[in-house]
Symmetry: C2
Subunit: 300 residues, 2 copies
DNA sequence: CACACTTACGATATTCGTAAGGATT
DNA sequence: AATCCTTACGAATATCGTAAGTGTG
Protein backbone atom coordinates (compact mmCIF):
# COMPACT_ATOMS: atom_id res chain seq x y z
CA UNK A 1 0.00 0.00 0.00
CA UNK A 2 2.82 2.37 0.85
CA UNK A 3 4.22 1.73 -2.61
CA UNK A 4 1.07 2.45 -4.57
CA UNK A 5 1.71 4.44 -7.68
CA UNK A 6 -1.04 6.81 -8.60
CA UNK A 7 -0.92 9.47 -11.24
CA UNK A 8 -2.39 12.91 -11.37
CA UNK A 9 -4.28 11.81 -14.44
CA UNK A 10 -5.99 9.05 -12.52
CA UNK A 11 -7.13 11.52 -9.92
CA UNK A 12 -8.41 13.90 -12.54
CA UNK A 13 -10.27 11.08 -14.25
CA UNK A 14 -11.72 9.96 -10.95
CA UNK A 15 -12.94 13.46 -10.13
CA UNK A 16 -14.36 13.93 -13.60
CA UNK A 17 -16.36 10.75 -13.24
CA UNK A 18 -17.43 11.64 -9.71
CA UNK A 19 -18.78 14.93 -10.97
CA UNK A 20 -20.26 13.92 -14.29
CA UNK A 21 -21.39 10.49 -13.23
CA UNK A 22 -21.08 9.22 -16.76
CA UNK A 23 -18.20 7.24 -18.18
CA UNK A 24 -18.94 8.49 -21.66
CA UNK A 25 -18.88 12.17 -20.72
CA UNK A 26 -15.98 11.91 -18.32
CA UNK A 27 -13.98 10.02 -20.93
CA UNK A 28 -14.55 12.88 -23.37
CA UNK A 29 -13.43 15.38 -20.74
CA UNK A 30 -10.22 13.43 -20.31
CA UNK A 31 -9.73 13.05 -24.07
CA UNK A 32 -9.90 9.30 -23.90
CA UNK A 33 -11.99 6.64 -25.55
CA UNK A 34 -14.66 5.40 -23.24
CA UNK A 35 -13.23 1.87 -22.87
CA UNK A 36 -9.80 3.28 -22.09
CA UNK A 37 -11.36 5.51 -19.47
CA UNK A 38 -13.22 2.55 -18.04
CA UNK A 39 -9.98 0.62 -17.75
CA UNK A 40 -8.31 3.58 -16.08
CA UNK A 41 -10.98 3.70 -13.38
CA UNK A 42 -10.78 -0.05 -12.93
CA UNK A 43 -7.03 0.19 -12.49
CA UNK A 44 -7.45 2.94 -9.94
CA UNK A 45 -9.97 0.88 -8.00
CA UNK A 46 -7.53 -2.00 -8.11
CA UNK A 47 -4.68 0.07 -6.77
CA UNK A 48 -6.83 1.49 -4.00
CA UNK A 49 -8.21 -1.95 -3.35
CA UNK A 50 -11.79 -0.77 -3.20
CA UNK A 51 -14.70 -0.01 -5.47
CA UNK A 52 -15.13 3.72 -5.84
CA UNK A 53 -18.31 3.72 -7.92
CA UNK A 54 -21.54 1.77 -7.91
CA UNK A 55 -22.29 1.49 -11.57
CA UNK A 56 -24.62 -0.24 -13.90
CA UNK A 57 -25.81 0.72 -17.34
CA UNK A 58 -28.18 3.31 -15.92
CA UNK A 59 -26.36 5.08 -13.17
CA UNK A 60 -22.90 5.81 -11.85
CA UNK A 61 -22.61 6.83 -8.20
CA UNK A 62 -19.80 7.14 -5.73
CA UNK A 63 -19.60 4.51 -3.03
CA UNK A 64 -19.06 5.56 0.57
CA UNK A 65 -15.34 4.95 0.09
CA UNK A 66 -15.47 6.86 -3.17
CA UNK A 67 -16.94 9.89 -1.45
CA UNK A 68 -14.25 9.72 1.17
CA UNK A 69 -11.53 9.54 -1.42
CA UNK A 70 -13.11 12.23 -3.58
CA UNK A 71 -12.62 14.79 -0.83
CA UNK A 72 -8.94 13.90 -0.55
CA UNK A 73 -8.49 13.71 -4.29
CA UNK A 74 -9.99 17.13 -4.86
CA UNK A 75 -7.61 18.71 -2.40
CA UNK A 76 -4.64 16.77 -3.75
CA UNK A 77 -5.31 17.78 -7.33
CA UNK A 78 -5.68 21.40 -6.26
CA UNK A 79 -2.48 21.39 -4.25
CA UNK A 80 -0.68 19.58 -7.02
CA UNK A 81 -1.87 22.10 -9.54
CA UNK A 82 -0.89 25.00 -7.32
CA UNK A 83 2.59 23.58 -6.89
CA UNK A 84 2.96 23.15 -10.64
CA UNK A 85 1.72 26.65 -11.35
CA UNK A 86 4.06 28.10 -8.77
CA UNK A 87 7.03 26.21 -10.12
CA UNK A 88 6.15 27.22 -13.63
CA UNK A 89 5.80 30.84 -12.59
CA UNK A 90 9.37 30.69 -11.33
CA UNK A 91 10.58 28.92 -14.45
CA UNK A 92 8.86 31.48 -16.64
CA UNK A 93 10.18 34.26 -14.42
CA UNK A 94 6.80 35.53 -13.36
CA UNK A 95 7.82 35.00 -9.76
CA UNK A 96 11.12 34.81 -7.97
CA UNK A 97 13.77 36.75 -6.22
CA UNK A 98 17.26 37.76 -7.24
CA UNK A 99 19.82 39.10 -4.84
CA UNK A 100 22.97 40.59 -6.25
CA UNK A 101 25.82 42.50 -4.73
CA UNK A 102 27.63 45.30 -6.54
CA UNK A 103 30.19 47.99 -5.94
CA UNK A 104 28.58 51.25 -4.90
CA UNK A 105 29.96 52.95 -7.99
CA UNK A 106 28.07 50.51 -10.19
CA UNK A 107 25.06 50.44 -7.96
CA UNK A 108 24.51 54.16 -8.28
CA UNK A 109 25.46 54.81 -11.85
CA UNK A 110 25.13 51.86 -14.08
CA UNK A 111 22.86 49.33 -12.42
CA UNK A 112 19.69 51.39 -12.14
CA UNK A 113 19.13 51.30 -15.88
CA UNK A 114 19.78 47.54 -15.91
CA UNK A 115 17.37 47.00 -13.07
CA UNK A 116 14.77 49.12 -14.80
CA UNK A 117 15.10 47.01 -17.92
CA UNK A 118 14.89 43.82 -15.91
CA UNK A 119 11.87 45.04 -14.04
CA UNK A 120 10.14 45.84 -17.29
CA UNK A 121 10.90 42.42 -18.73
CA UNK A 122 10.08 40.47 -15.53
CA UNK A 123 7.83 42.60 -13.36
CA UNK A 124 7.07 39.76 -10.95
CA UNK A 125 10.64 39.22 -9.83
CA UNK A 126 11.71 40.72 -6.54
CA UNK A 127 15.07 42.46 -6.78
CA UNK A 128 17.54 42.77 -3.97
CA UNK A 129 20.75 44.75 -4.25
CA UNK A 130 23.56 44.99 -1.73
CA UNK A 131 25.76 47.95 -2.60
CA UNK A 132 28.94 47.14 -0.75
CA UNK A 133 32.65 47.25 -1.21
CA UNK A 134 34.24 44.48 -3.20
CA UNK A 135 35.14 42.09 -0.40
CA UNK A 136 31.73 42.28 1.20
CA UNK A 137 30.16 41.61 -2.19
CA UNK A 138 32.22 38.49 -2.64
CA UNK A 139 31.40 37.31 0.86
CA UNK A 140 27.69 37.52 0.12
CA UNK A 141 28.19 35.34 -2.92
CA UNK A 142 30.34 32.84 -1.09
CA UNK A 143 27.80 32.49 1.70
CA UNK A 144 25.05 31.99 -0.81
CA UNK A 145 23.16 35.10 0.26
CA UNK A 146 23.68 36.72 -3.11
CA UNK A 147 23.24 35.01 -6.45
CA UNK A 148 26.17 36.83 -7.97
CA UNK A 149 28.18 39.99 -7.56
CA UNK A 150 29.78 42.70 -9.64
CA UNK A 151 33.05 43.40 -7.91
CA UNK A 152 36.61 44.23 -8.67
CA UNK A 153 38.29 41.21 -7.16
CA UNK A 154 40.80 39.56 -9.42
CA UNK A 155 41.67 37.01 -6.78
CA UNK A 156 40.16 33.67 -7.66
CA UNK A 157 38.58 32.35 -4.51
CA UNK A 158 38.03 28.65 -4.03
CA UNK A 159 34.55 27.67 -5.08
CA UNK A 160 33.92 30.93 -6.88
CA UNK A 161 34.10 31.60 -10.56
CA UNK A 162 34.97 35.07 -11.79
CA UNK A 163 34.40 36.48 -15.19
CA UNK A 164 35.72 39.77 -16.47
CA UNK A 165 32.83 41.86 -17.66
CA UNK A 166 34.29 45.31 -17.98
CA UNK A 167 37.59 47.12 -18.04
CA UNK A 168 37.04 50.55 -16.69
CA UNK A 169 39.47 53.27 -17.81
CA UNK A 170 40.37 56.03 -15.37
CA UNK A 171 39.74 59.74 -15.85
CA UNK A 172 41.14 62.84 -14.32
CA UNK A 173 38.52 65.09 -12.82
CA UNK A 174 39.33 68.73 -12.07
CA UNK A 175 37.92 72.20 -12.28
CA UNK A 176 37.70 73.88 -15.62
CA UNK A 177 40.13 76.53 -14.43
CA UNK A 178 42.70 73.96 -13.33
CA UNK A 179 45.96 73.88 -15.31
CA UNK A 180 45.40 70.18 -16.17
CA UNK A 181 42.11 70.99 -17.82
CA UNK A 182 44.10 72.14 -20.78
CA UNK A 183 45.44 68.67 -21.46
CA UNK A 184 43.32 66.37 -23.55
CA UNK A 185 44.85 63.24 -22.11
CA UNK A 186 47.26 63.87 -19.24
CA UNK A 187 49.71 61.28 -17.96
CA UNK A 188 49.74 60.09 -14.38
CA UNK A 189 53.05 61.75 -13.73
CA UNK A 190 51.71 65.15 -14.53
CA UNK A 191 49.11 64.79 -11.86
CA UNK A 192 51.57 64.12 -9.05
CA UNK A 193 52.23 67.70 -7.94
CA UNK A 194 48.61 68.61 -7.42
CA UNK A 195 46.59 68.17 -4.24
CA UNK A 196 44.68 64.93 -4.58
CA UNK A 197 41.29 63.87 -3.24
CA UNK A 198 41.25 60.14 -2.57
CA UNK A 199 38.51 57.60 -2.07
CA UNK A 200 38.81 55.69 1.17
CA UNK A 201 41.55 53.12 1.28
CA UNK A 202 39.38 50.01 0.90
CA UNK A 203 37.46 51.18 -2.13
CA UNK A 204 38.13 49.51 -5.43
CA UNK A 205 38.80 52.85 -7.06
CA UNK A 206 41.54 53.63 -4.56
CA UNK A 207 43.08 50.20 -4.75
CA UNK A 208 43.36 50.24 -8.51
CA UNK A 209 44.84 53.69 -8.31
CA UNK A 210 47.43 52.79 -5.69
CA UNK A 211 48.47 49.75 -7.65
CA UNK A 212 49.07 51.93 -10.71
CA UNK A 213 50.96 54.63 -8.90
CA UNK A 214 52.90 52.24 -6.76
CA UNK A 215 56.29 53.69 -6.12
CA UNK A 216 54.87 57.17 -6.47
CA UNK A 217 52.91 58.83 -3.71
CA UNK A 218 49.96 61.05 -4.32
CA UNK A 219 49.75 64.41 -2.70
CA UNK A 220 46.74 63.57 -0.61
CA UNK A 221 44.71 66.48 0.63
CA UNK A 222 41.52 64.65 1.57
CA UNK A 223 40.06 61.19 1.81
CA UNK A 224 36.31 60.62 1.41
CA UNK A 225 33.92 57.68 1.28
CA UNK A 226 31.45 58.78 -1.33
CA UNK A 227 32.15 59.73 -4.90
CA UNK A 228 29.49 62.45 -4.74
CA UNK A 229 31.44 64.01 -1.89
CA UNK A 230 34.62 63.86 -3.89
CA UNK A 231 32.85 65.63 -6.74
CA UNK A 232 31.77 68.42 -4.45
CA UNK A 233 35.28 68.79 -3.08
CA UNK A 234 36.84 68.93 -6.50
CA UNK A 235 34.32 71.50 -7.61
CA UNK A 236 35.12 73.57 -4.55
CA UNK A 237 38.72 73.61 -5.69
CA UNK A 238 40.23 71.54 -2.90
CA UNK A 239 42.03 69.29 -5.34
CA UNK A 240 41.82 66.93 -8.28
CA UNK A 241 40.88 63.28 -8.42
CA UNK A 242 41.05 60.24 -10.66
CA UNK A 243 38.06 57.94 -11.05
CA UNK A 244 36.88 55.15 -13.36
CA UNK A 245 34.71 55.91 -16.36
CA UNK A 246 31.63 54.24 -14.89
CA UNK A 247 31.58 56.79 -12.08
CA UNK A 248 31.92 59.87 -14.22
CA UNK A 249 28.22 60.68 -13.98
CA UNK A 250 28.97 61.93 -10.47
CA UNK A 251 31.24 64.58 -11.96
CA UNK A 252 29.05 65.97 -14.67
CA UNK A 253 28.92 69.41 -13.16
CA UNK A 254 29.14 72.87 -14.64
CA UNK A 255 32.60 73.74 -13.32
CA UNK A 256 34.24 70.36 -13.78
CA UNK A 257 35.95 68.66 -16.65
CA UNK A 258 36.94 65.03 -17.13
CA UNK A 259 39.94 63.88 -19.11
CA UNK A 260 40.89 60.33 -19.99
CA UNK A 261 44.32 59.49 -18.64
CA UNK A 262 46.98 58.74 -21.19
CA UNK A 263 47.50 55.01 -21.71
CA UNK A 264 48.91 53.98 -18.40
CA UNK A 265 47.50 50.55 -17.87
CA UNK A 266 45.44 52.18 -15.20
CA UNK A 267 42.11 50.41 -15.30
CA UNK A 268 39.68 48.99 -12.84
CA UNK A 269 38.58 45.52 -13.84
CA UNK A 270 35.04 44.60 -12.98
CA UNK A 271 34.23 40.95 -12.53
CA UNK A 272 31.06 39.03 -12.27
CA UNK A 273 31.54 36.66 -9.35
CA UNK A 274 29.38 33.62 -8.76
CA UNK A 275 29.61 30.27 -7.07
CA UNK A 276 31.39 27.71 -9.14
CA UNK A 277 28.91 24.95 -8.67
CA UNK A 278 25.18 25.31 -8.56
CA UNK A 279 23.29 26.89 -11.36
CA UNK A 280 21.52 30.18 -11.00
CA UNK A 281 17.78 30.31 -10.51
CA UNK A 282 15.81 31.17 -13.62
CA UNK A 283 15.36 34.70 -12.31
CA UNK A 284 19.03 35.12 -11.40
CA UNK A 285 20.11 33.72 -14.74
CA UNK A 286 17.91 36.24 -16.50
CA UNK A 287 19.48 39.14 -14.62
CA UNK A 288 22.91 37.64 -15.16
CA UNK A 289 22.32 37.49 -18.89
CA UNK A 290 20.99 41.02 -18.97
CA UNK A 291 24.04 42.30 -17.10
CA UNK A 292 26.43 40.58 -19.47
CA UNK A 293 24.53 41.72 -22.51
CA UNK A 294 24.32 45.32 -21.33
CA UNK A 295 28.02 45.37 -20.51
CA UNK A 296 28.88 44.05 -23.93
CA UNK A 297 26.76 46.69 -25.59
CA UNK A 298 28.55 49.43 -23.65
CA UNK A 299 32.10 48.46 -24.65
CA UNK A 300 31.97 46.37 -27.79
CA UNK B 1 1.03 22.59 -18.17
CA UNK B 2 -2.46 22.17 -16.78
CA UNK B 3 -2.51 18.72 -18.29
CA UNK B 4 0.79 17.51 -16.94
CA UNK B 5 0.65 13.96 -15.74
CA UNK B 6 2.86 13.24 -12.79
CA UNK B 7 2.91 10.10 -10.76
CA UNK B 8 3.45 9.55 -7.10
CA UNK B 9 6.40 7.40 -8.02
CA UNK B 10 8.07 10.27 -9.82
CA UNK B 11 7.69 12.44 -6.74
CA UNK B 12 9.09 9.74 -4.51
CA UNK B 13 12.03 9.26 -6.87
CA UNK B 14 12.63 13.00 -6.98
CA UNK B 15 12.63 13.27 -3.19
CA UNK B 16 14.89 10.24 -2.85
CA UNK B 17 17.41 11.84 -5.17
CA UNK B 18 17.08 15.21 -3.47
CA UNK B 19 17.91 13.59 -0.16
CA UNK B 20 20.55 11.08 -1.18
CA UNK B 21 22.10 13.18 -3.91
CA UNK B 22 23.20 10.07 -5.75
CA UNK B 23 21.47 8.47 -8.70
CA UNK B 24 22.92 5.10 -7.82
CA UNK B 25 21.70 5.10 -4.23
CA UNK B 26 18.34 6.68 -4.98
CA UNK B 27 17.78 4.17 -7.77
CA UNK B 28 18.35 1.36 -5.28
CA UNK B 29 15.89 2.95 -2.87
CA UNK B 30 13.29 2.99 -5.61
CA UNK B 31 14.07 -0.56 -6.71
CA UNK B 32 15.11 0.54 -10.15
CA UNK B 33 18.18 0.16 -12.26
CA UNK B 34 20.25 3.29 -12.29
CA UNK B 35 19.65 4.10 -15.96
CA UNK B 36 15.89 3.61 -15.55
CA UNK B 37 16.00 5.94 -12.58
CA UNK B 38 17.98 8.44 -14.58
CA UNK B 39 15.39 8.36 -17.33
CA UNK B 40 12.63 8.80 -14.79
CA UNK B 41 14.21 11.99 -13.46
CA UNK B 42 14.81 13.22 -16.96
CA UNK B 43 11.17 12.64 -17.82
CA UNK B 44 10.10 14.51 -14.71
CA UNK B 45 12.33 17.44 -15.59
CA UNK B 46 10.84 17.39 -19.05
CA UNK B 47 7.29 17.43 -17.76
CA UNK B 48 8.07 20.27 -15.37
CA UNK B 49 10.01 22.01 -18.09
CA UNK B 50 12.96 22.79 -15.86
CA UNK B 51 16.14 21.21 -14.61
CA UNK B 52 15.73 20.11 -11.03
CA UNK B 53 19.27 18.96 -10.38
CA UNK B 54 22.73 20.24 -11.22
CA UNK B 55 24.60 17.08 -11.85
CA UNK B 56 27.90 15.89 -13.17
CA UNK B 57 29.83 12.74 -12.48
CA UNK B 58 30.96 14.07 -9.13
CA UNK B 59 27.98 15.73 -7.54
CA UNK B 60 24.21 15.94 -7.64
CA UNK B 61 22.57 19.04 -6.20
CA UNK B 62 19.15 20.59 -6.37
CA UNK B 63 18.77 23.68 -8.49
CA UNK B 64 16.91 26.69 -7.12
CA UNK B 65 13.78 25.45 -8.90
CA UNK B 66 14.44 21.97 -7.57
CA UNK B 67 14.52 23.26 -4.01
CA UNK B 68 11.27 25.08 -4.59
CA UNK B 69 9.62 21.99 -5.98
CA UNK B 70 11.06 19.74 -3.29
CA UNK B 71 9.14 21.61 -0.63
CA UNK B 72 5.88 21.14 -2.53
CA UNK B 73 6.67 17.56 -3.42
CA UNK B 74 7.38 16.62 0.16
CA UNK B 75 4.05 17.95 1.30
CA UNK B 76 2.21 16.39 -1.61
CA UNK B 77 3.66 12.96 -1.01
CA UNK B 78 2.78 13.22 2.66
CA UNK B 79 -0.78 14.32 1.98
CA UNK B 80 -1.14 11.69 -0.68
CA UNK B 81 0.08 9.02 1.67
CA UNK B 82 -2.22 10.20 4.43
CA UNK B 83 -5.20 10.07 2.08
CA UNK B 84 -4.29 6.55 1.01
CA UNK B 85 -3.81 5.37 4.57
CA UNK B 86 -7.12 6.90 5.59
CA UNK B 87 -8.95 5.30 2.71
CA UNK B 88 -7.33 1.99 3.41
CA UNK B 89 -8.26 2.23 7.08
CA UNK B 90 -11.86 2.54 6.02
CA UNK B 91 -11.58 -0.28 3.52
CA UNK B 92 -9.99 -2.49 6.15
CA UNK B 93 -12.58 -1.37 8.67
CA UNK B 94 -10.13 0.17 11.07
CA UNK B 95 -12.04 3.42 10.81
CA UNK B 96 -15.57 4.32 9.87
CA UNK B 97 -19.05 4.85 11.12
CA UNK B 98 -22.19 2.78 10.82
CA UNK B 99 -25.61 4.10 11.63
CA UNK B 100 -28.44 1.64 11.84
CA UNK B 101 -32.02 1.92 12.96
CA UNK B 102 -33.82 -0.88 14.75
CA UNK B 103 -37.04 -1.58 16.56
CA UNK B 104 -36.72 -0.95 20.28
CA UNK B 105 -37.49 -4.58 21.01
CA UNK B 106 -34.47 -5.61 18.97
CA UNK B 107 -32.34 -2.73 20.18
CA UNK B 108 -32.71 -3.74 23.78
CA UNK B 109 -32.66 -7.49 23.61
CA UNK B 110 -30.90 -8.85 20.62
CA UNK B 111 -28.68 -6.13 19.17
CA UNK B 112 -26.41 -5.54 22.17
CA UNK B 113 -24.73 -8.90 21.68
CA UNK B 114 -24.35 -8.26 17.96
CA UNK B 115 -22.85 -4.83 18.62
CA UNK B 116 -20.50 -6.31 21.18
CA UNK B 117 -19.30 -8.84 18.64
CA UNK B 118 -18.91 -6.17 15.99
CA UNK B 119 -17.00 -3.91 18.35
CA UNK B 120 -14.64 -6.74 19.15
CA UNK B 121 -14.01 -7.48 15.49
CA UNK B 122 -13.75 -3.82 14.40
CA UNK B 123 -12.88 -1.71 17.41
CA UNK B 124 -12.22 1.40 15.34
CA UNK B 125 -15.69 1.69 13.87
CA UNK B 126 -18.06 4.16 15.45
CA UNK B 127 -21.52 2.70 15.99
CA UNK B 128 -24.73 4.65 15.92
CA UNK B 129 -28.09 3.14 16.75
CA UNK B 130 -31.50 4.73 16.44
CA UNK B 131 -34.01 2.69 18.41
CA UNK B 132 -37.28 3.81 16.92
CA UNK B 133 -40.58 2.43 15.79
CA UNK B 134 -40.69 0.78 12.43
CA UNK B 135 -41.77 3.73 10.29
CA UNK B 136 -39.20 6.05 11.78
CA UNK B 137 -36.54 3.42 11.14
CA UNK B 138 -37.49 3.18 7.50
CA UNK B 139 -37.51 6.96 7.17
CA UNK B 140 -33.96 7.15 8.42
CA UNK B 141 -32.91 4.68 5.77
CA UNK B 142 -34.80 6.43 3.01
CA UNK B 143 -33.25 9.77 3.89
CA UNK B 144 -29.81 8.20 3.91
CA UNK B 145 -29.21 8.98 7.57
CA UNK B 146 -29.08 5.30 8.46
CA UNK B 147 -27.19 2.66 6.51
CA UNK B 148 -29.89 0.07 7.06
CA UNK B 149 -32.65 -0.77 9.46
CA UNK B 150 -34.17 -3.74 11.20
CA UNK B 151 -37.87 -3.09 11.08
CA UNK B 152 -41.11 -4.92 10.64
CA UNK B 153 -42.38 -3.23 7.52
CA UNK B 154 -43.55 -5.59 4.90
CA UNK B 155 -44.51 -2.74 2.61
CA UNK B 156 -42.02 -2.45 -0.20
CA UNK B 157 -41.18 1.23 -0.48
CA UNK B 158 -39.87 2.68 -3.71
CA UNK B 159 -36.11 2.80 -3.71
CA UNK B 160 -35.79 0.51 -0.73
CA UNK B 161 -35.00 -3.16 -0.68
CA UNK B 162 -36.30 -5.32 2.12
CA UNK B 163 -35.11 -8.73 3.14
CA UNK B 164 -36.75 -11.01 5.63
CA UNK B 165 -34.26 -11.86 8.30
CA UNK B 166 -36.38 -13.32 11.06
CA UNK B 167 -39.86 -14.63 11.72
CA UNK B 168 -40.66 -14.01 15.33
CA UNK B 169 -43.24 -16.27 16.96
CA UNK B 170 -45.54 -14.84 19.58
CA UNK B 171 -45.79 -15.96 23.17
CA UNK B 172 -48.35 -15.57 25.86
CA UNK B 173 -47.00 -14.01 29.02
CA UNK B 174 -48.96 -14.28 32.26
CA UNK B 175 -48.53 -14.93 35.93
CA UNK B 176 -47.74 -18.42 37.15
CA UNK B 177 -51.02 -18.49 39.00
CA UNK B 178 -53.03 -17.54 35.92
CA UNK B 179 -55.36 -20.22 34.52
CA UNK B 180 -53.62 -20.06 31.15
CA UNK B 181 -50.30 -20.96 32.73
CA UNK B 182 -51.52 -24.53 32.79
CA UNK B 183 -51.61 -24.72 29.01
CA UNK B 184 -48.38 -25.61 27.23
CA UNK B 185 -49.45 -23.97 24.01
CA UNK B 186 -52.70 -22.02 24.23
CA UNK B 187 -54.65 -20.86 21.19
CA UNK B 188 -55.46 -17.24 20.56
CA UNK B 189 -59.13 -17.87 21.14
CA UNK B 190 -58.56 -19.04 24.66
CA UNK B 191 -56.89 -15.74 25.48
CA UNK B 192 -59.84 -13.62 24.44
CA UNK B 193 -61.74 -13.53 27.73
CA UNK B 194 -58.83 -12.30 29.81
CA UNK B 195 -57.85 -8.69 30.46
CA UNK B 196 -55.14 -7.78 28.01
CA UNK B 197 -52.19 -5.44 28.27
CA UNK B 198 -51.39 -3.95 24.89
CA UNK B 199 -48.38 -2.19 23.47
CA UNK B 200 -49.17 1.20 22.02
CA UNK B 201 -51.03 1.19 18.75
CA UNK B 202 -48.14 2.10 16.47
CA UNK B 203 -45.72 -0.54 17.76
CA UNK B 204 -44.87 -3.44 15.51
CA UNK B 205 -45.86 -5.90 18.23
CA UNK B 206 -49.34 -4.41 18.43
CA UNK B 207 -49.79 -4.23 14.70
CA UNK B 208 -48.88 -7.84 14.12
CA UNK B 209 -51.21 -8.82 16.92
CA UNK B 210 -54.16 -6.80 15.62
CA UNK B 211 -53.69 -8.23 12.18
CA UNK B 212 -53.86 -11.75 13.58
CA UNK B 213 -56.85 -11.15 15.79
CA UNK B 214 -58.65 -9.11 13.22
CA UNK B 215 -62.37 -9.68 13.57
CA UNK B 216 -61.88 -10.45 17.25
CA UNK B 217 -61.36 -7.75 19.79
CA UNK B 218 -59.04 -8.06 22.72
CA UNK B 219 -60.25 -7.23 26.16
CA UNK B 220 -57.91 -4.31 26.61
CA UNK B 221 -57.21 -3.26 30.16
CA UNK B 222 -54.14 -1.14 29.60
CA UNK B 223 -51.95 0.23 26.84
CA UNK B 224 -48.25 0.96 27.47
CA UNK B 225 -45.26 2.12 25.44
CA UNK B 226 -42.49 0.05 26.91
CA UNK B 227 -42.25 -3.70 27.09
CA UNK B 228 -40.59 -3.49 30.49
CA UNK B 229 -43.65 -1.64 31.73
CA UNK B 230 -45.91 -4.31 30.31
CA UNK B 231 -43.88 -6.94 32.12
CA UNK B 232 -44.34 -5.13 35.40
CA UNK B 233 -48.07 -4.84 34.81
CA UNK B 234 -48.47 -8.49 33.98
CA UNK B 235 -46.49 -9.47 37.03
CA UNK B 236 -48.72 -7.24 39.12
CA UNK B 237 -51.69 -9.26 37.88
CA UNK B 238 -53.38 -6.56 35.83
CA UNK B 239 -53.64 -8.79 32.81
CA UNK B 240 -51.93 -10.99 30.28
CA UNK B 241 -50.06 -10.08 27.15
CA UNK B 242 -48.72 -11.53 23.95
CA UNK B 243 -45.27 -10.62 22.70
CA UNK B 244 -42.74 -11.87 20.14
CA UNK B 245 -40.03 -14.32 21.11
CA UNK B 246 -37.25 -11.77 20.74
CA UNK B 247 -38.71 -9.65 23.53
CA UNK B 248 -39.20 -12.45 26.02
CA UNK B 249 -36.13 -11.46 27.99
CA UNK B 250 -38.22 -8.63 29.40
CA UNK B 251 -40.51 -11.17 30.97
CA UNK B 252 -38.05 -13.49 32.61
CA UNK B 253 -39.32 -12.80 36.10
CA UNK B 254 -39.97 -15.01 39.07
CA UNK B 255 -43.78 -14.88 38.95
CA UNK B 256 -44.23 -14.96 35.19
CA UNK B 257 -44.44 -17.75 32.67
CA UNK B 258 -44.21 -17.61 28.88
CA UNK B 259 -46.05 -19.99 26.58
CA UNK B 260 -45.72 -20.30 22.81
CA UNK B 261 -49.05 -19.72 21.13
CA UNK B 262 -50.49 -22.65 19.24
CA UNK B 263 -49.86 -22.43 15.51
CA UNK B 264 -51.87 -19.42 14.57
CA UNK B 265 -49.87 -17.81 11.83
CA UNK B 266 -49.25 -15.11 14.38
CA UNK B 267 -45.70 -13.97 13.78
CA UNK B 268 -43.89 -10.70 13.55
CA UNK B 269 -41.66 -10.58 10.51
CA UNK B 270 -38.45 -8.64 10.86
CA UNK B 271 -36.92 -7.18 7.73
CA UNK B 272 -33.61 -5.70 6.97
CA UNK B 273 -34.33 -2.53 5.03
CA UNK B 274 -31.76 -0.72 2.93
CA UNK B 275 -31.64 1.58 -0.04
CA UNK B 276 -31.98 -0.21 -3.31
CA UNK B 277 -29.13 1.51 -5.04
CA UNK B 278 -25.87 2.47 -3.52
CA UNK B 279 -23.68 -0.08 -1.85
CA UNK B 280 -22.99 -0.06 1.83
CA UNK B 281 -19.76 1.30 3.20
CA UNK B 282 -17.23 -1.32 4.15
CA UNK B 283 -18.11 -0.79 7.80
CA UNK B 284 -21.86 -0.96 7.18
CA UNK B 285 -21.46 -4.04 5.04
CA UNK B 286 -19.56 -5.73 7.82
CA UNK B 287 -22.30 -5.02 10.34
CA UNK B 288 -24.90 -6.06 7.79
CA UNK B 289 -23.17 -9.37 7.29
CA UNK B 290 -22.82 -9.94 11.01
CA UNK B 291 -26.53 -9.23 11.53
CA UNK B 292 -27.53 -11.68 8.82
CA UNK B 293 -25.15 -14.31 10.06
CA UNK B 294 -26.25 -13.98 13.67
CA UNK B 295 -29.90 -14.13 12.67
CA UNK B 296 -29.30 -17.27 10.69
CA UNK B 297 -27.53 -18.90 13.59
CA UNK B 298 -30.46 -18.12 15.89
CA UNK B 299 -33.13 -19.75 13.73
CA UNK B 300 -31.52 -22.24 11.41
C1' DC C 1 41.42 3.42 -13.83
C1' DA C 2 37.67 3.62 -10.90
C1' DC C 3 33.47 5.73 -10.12
C1' DA C 4 29.09 7.87 -11.48
C1' DC C 5 25.91 9.56 -14.75
C1' DT C 6 24.28 9.18 -19.75
C1' DT C 7 23.21 6.92 -24.11
C1' DA C 8 21.86 2.85 -26.92
C1' DC C 9 18.93 -0.78 -27.63
C1' DG C 10 16.19 -4.95 -27.49
C1' DA C 11 12.63 -6.91 -24.43
C1' DT C 12 8.68 -6.38 -21.58
C1' DA C 13 4.57 -4.14 -19.78
C1' DT C 14 1.19 -0.75 -20.06
C1' DT C 15 -2.21 1.84 -22.35
C1' DC C 16 -4.75 3.00 -26.37
C1' DG C 17 -8.65 2.76 -29.73
C1' DT C 18 -11.80 -0.13 -32.48
C1' DA C 19 -15.15 -3.57 -32.43
C1' DA C 20 -18.14 -6.79 -30.27
C1' DG C 21 -20.93 -8.11 -26.04
C1' DG C 22 -24.44 -7.56 -22.38
C1' DA C 23 -27.77 -5.27 -19.66
C1' DT C 24 -31.36 -1.89 -19.03
C1' DT C 25 -35.06 1.08 -20.52
C1' DA D 1 -34.12 -0.17 -30.74
C1' DA D 2 -31.21 2.95 -28.19
C1' DT D 3 -28.04 3.86 -24.57
C1' DC D 4 -24.26 2.92 -21.65
C1' DC D 5 -20.77 0.20 -19.45
C1' DT D 6 -17.68 -3.94 -20.13
C1' DT D 7 -14.81 -7.24 -22.58
C1' DA D 8 -11.65 -8.61 -26.38
C1' DC D 9 -7.77 -7.80 -28.97
C1' DG D 10 -4.22 -6.03 -32.02
C1' DA D 11 -1.42 -1.78 -32.23
C1' DA D 12 1.09 2.02 -30.39
C1' DT D 13 3.58 3.73 -26.49
C1' DA D 14 6.23 3.74 -22.35
C1' DT D 15 9.36 1.68 -19.26
C1' DC D 16 12.74 -1.62 -17.95
C1' DG D 17 17.41 -3.72 -17.59
C1' DT D 18 21.85 -4.81 -19.80
C1' DA D 19 25.71 -3.09 -21.93
C1' DA D 20 28.51 0.41 -23.87
C1' DG D 21 29.87 5.40 -23.68
C1' DT D 22 31.69 9.65 -21.41
C1' DG D 23 33.77 12.59 -18.24
C1' DT D 24 36.14 13.50 -13.88
C1' DG D 25 39.37 12.91 -10.01
Amino acid sequence: MAQTNLSLRQLRAFLALAEQRSFTQAAATCHLSQPAFSALIRTLEGELNTRLFDRDTRSVELTAEGRLFAASARRLVEDFGAALVDLNDHVERRKGRVHIAALPSLAAGWLPAVFAGFRKAWPGIELNLSDLLSDACVDLVRSGKADFALASTGVSHAGLSTRLVCTDRFYLVCRKDHPLAAEASPTLKKLAPYPFIHMSRNSSVRQALEAALHPQQANTVLEVDQLATAAGMVEAGLGISVVPALTLFHFERKNLVTRPLAASGLTRKIYLVRRQEGSLSAAAQALHDLVIETMKARTP
